[in-house]
């Protein structure tokens, strides 16, 4: 067989392969679309309804004014609930970072010790825990027994417990991905384990750690169940102290959508839209941060 | 001792060159002894030159193995590789020259000549000049100095040939002429090796 014949024959084979390739690709794309259809649908519905709701009073008014659901013409906004969410997110982030950083470092840097493995296992179990149970537990301890009423601090504590395992796992992963030879380099210039961790490893992994914090932050902003039995649900005004009852955006959505009046629904949709923007924004930022990681 | 081991490439090269220079010094010393002996045949310099020849051989062997080691160690390429190769060749040429110098003195002593023709001495002086010029050209990397060596070589060659044709015309060759011819033949070989060195230089520093 001459060389040109070989080429022509092989070309035929490749043509067949290419057709099979196209069919395969089409199937994959179809499955992909099916899987993500719900997501697109949620975004679509929330945006349509949300924009309608927000435009009724104007964006600034919606973000700052207290809700006024008795007046369907001017239902007000979600200002106090937004502030409540902000307070919860800040508190949760602070609590969670303070706890998750040492735990993540412990898991990553003492990975051979039994305690470290146990910590990771507990974090993974906690991650799968129904959040409503966490809310209930915090209610039993902080609301019922210690403080005696719904309060923001209890909400932040419940959220911290929910967010903690995500942060721990993310932080330990970030540290684990640091090349072993950097650890060796740090030790080889006589640094102690502690100095190696806080001078070298944590700063090198800072972007990965930041991603963990942002994921936790987004989760804290969006969770509803842990707040059900903890912060009460006062949407008209900002709480005066952390031990007061307060509101949060996801909880507001949950409560208002159940009300029989149209104005409540408008507010709920608007709040949902804002919440979606915030959570997606945080996620996008964290993705961008990940991209920038270089060693 | 340790400085020898942990040396840079340049230092290793300088070491090689310095050994070559020592060999050259021995060569020139031997050629001077040859000249002295030609002027004054009763000079018994045979032992001196025998010692020189042994020393030269040892130096040549050392230079060879050192140069090979240099190549194994530094992986030289391009001109440097050629240069190291030339060092090996030149060391061999110098060693041969010392060996011929010894042969000349041996010839004079064995034949117990009383006086030697002027033109033999002249040829010997030419040969020595050739060795000096070509070696300096090699070491100082000046190819101009290496030019003109071929002409001198031709001169020494002519001297040897005319000696050959002279004894060819004789039925009975006197001892003195036979010895002159043998000595001239050895001088001619010395000139040849000087020419090889000059050619190395021209090839290397073109």
């Amino acid at each position: 067989m001459s060389n040109s014949q070989i080429l022509i024959q092989q070309d035929k084979v490749y043509r067949k392969r290419r057709i099979i390739n196209y069919i395969g690709l089409t199937v994959i794309v179809a499955l992909f679309i099916t899987a993500f259809l719900p997501l697109f649908h949620i975004v679509y519905v929330t945006t349509i309804n949300g924009v309608k709701a927000v435009s009724k009073v104007g964006l600034l008014e919606f973000l700052t004014a207290p809700p006024n659901p008795v007046d369907p013409q001017n239902p007000g906004g979600i200002g106090p609930a937004l502030v409540g969410t902000l307070i919860l997110v800040v508190l949760t982030t602070v609590f969670a970072v303070l706890l998750a950083l040492p735990a993540g470092v412990f898991i990553a840097e003492f990975r051979y010790s039994g305690m470290s493995r146990l910590t990771l296992l507990l974090a993974l179990i906690l991650m799968e825990f129904p959040t409503v149970l966490i809310g209930l537990t915090v209610y039993a301890i902080f609301v019922e027994r210690l403080i005696g009423r719904y309060n923001m601090l209890a909400g932040a504590i419940a959220l911290t417990i929910v967010v903690l395992p995500y942060m721990i796992v993310q932080i330990s992963e970030a540290l684990r991905h640091i090349p072993y030879n950097l650890r060796e380099a740090a030790f080889s210039i006589g640094l102690t384990r502690f100095k190696t961790i806080y001078r070298i490893l944590v700063p090198v992994a800072r972007r990965g750690i930041l991603v963990g914090v942002l994921i936790g932050l987004a989760k804290a902003a969006g969770e509803t169940a842990p707040l059900l039995f903890t912060i009460g649900g006062a949407y008209k005004m900002v709480p005066e102290s952390l031990l007061e009852e307060g509101g949060a955006v996801p909880l507001l959505i949950y409560h208002y959508i159940q009300q029989p009046s149209e104005a409540y629904h408008v507010l709920a949709w608007g709040a949902a839209f804002i919440l979606m923007l915030v959570v997606m924004g945080v996620m996008l930022i964290s993705r961008a941060v990940v991209k920038e990681v270089k060693l | 001792m340790k400085e020898d081991y942990v040396a840079s490439r340049e230092e290793d090269l300088i070491h090689l060159e310095s050994m070559l220079q020592r060999l050259f010094k021995i060569t020139i010393e031997s050629l001077e002894i040859v000249e002295e002996t030609l002027k004054n045949p009763s000079l018994a310099a045979e032992n001196d030159l025998s010692a020189n020849a042994m020393l030269a051989e040892h130096l040549k062997d050392t230079i060879h193995s050192e140069a090979l080691f240099f190549i194994a160690k530094w992986h030289p390429l391009g001109r440097l590789l050629l240069y190291v190769e030339s060092i090996i060749k030149v060391s061999y040429d110098l060693f041969r020259i010392v060996k011929y110098a010894y042969e000349i003195v041996l010839t004079i002593n064995m034949t117990s000549l009383s006086n030697i023709d002027e033109h033999v001495l002249l040829a010997a002086e030419h040969a020595k000049e050739m060795v000096i010029r070509s070696f300096e050209a090699f070491l100082k990397r000046v190819k101009e100095k290496a030019k003109g060596i071929e002409e001198l070589d031709a001169k020494v060659d002519r001297e040897y040939r005319s000696c050959l044709s002279r004894i060819a015309s004789m039925d009975k060759v006197p001892k003195k002429d036979a010895a002159s011819c043998i000595i001239l033949r050895q001088i001619e070989r010395i000139a040849d090796h000087a020419t090889y060195i000059a050619r190395q230089t021209l090839r290397l520093f073109e």
Binding site: Y112, P179, N181, L182, R183, E184, A185, A186, F187, S188, I189, G190, L191, T192, K195, R199, I200, P203, V204, R206, K294, L295 | K2, Y5, V6, S8, F69, A72, K73, W74, H75
Partner: protein, 253 residues
Amino acid sequence: MVEYAVEVNDLHVWLGERHILQGVTFRCPERTVTAIMGPSGTGKSTVLRAINRLLDLNPEAKVRGRVKIFGVDVYSVEPYVVRRHVGMVFQEPNPFPHISIYDNVALGPKLHGIVRSKKELDELVKWALEKAMLWDEVKNRLYDLPTKLSGGQKQRLSLARALALKPRILLLDEPTANIDPVNAMKIEEAIKSIVREEGITVILVTHMPAQAVRISDFLVFMYKGKVVEQGPTRDVALHPRSELTERFMRGEL
């Protein structure tokens, strides 16, 4: 009695079940370069890590035998003290990516309190970078991150970082294995001048016989966790007594 900079005596190392080093013994006189040579997977790097106790980081590692530096058993003192006086450069260039070139060199001296003033620190950093033959290339961008440096420059930065602590002993784990020949040559030159001018004792792990011949005074040839042959570099390189060494030198092992 001659005091050796490094003495390794009947060193055994197990990593988990594997018996990595099976009785390694050698000595390094002060101010010399000893090359540990052998095929990969022979335990050469493990020897270095046993000397500066980096093996401690691996909880699976078990060490038996004696390692002395200047007569002191390294397993009888704090590992941080050992590592402070025994510098190390690794196969993979590994400057800290999050701090500047300057800080990479200055971190060790700062944390160990070696310098008293900023000026002293500046001088030390300059000295270390000069010794590593990197100063000219980075003097105008000392405060940049090292991520933009080439592989060879990163490796010389790693060398400078080790030198900044003014170690008495320097361990080099195939420092030129992953970099280009020109940079490799610069590192070899740097090693030589460090030994000559600073009197540092160097142990170099390499799988390249020619490199071992170029920069070492003594050769230790290892095979499968054991020392097969050792002696002055020229003797071992030119007249190996063991068939294994001979084959390795020929490039057949």
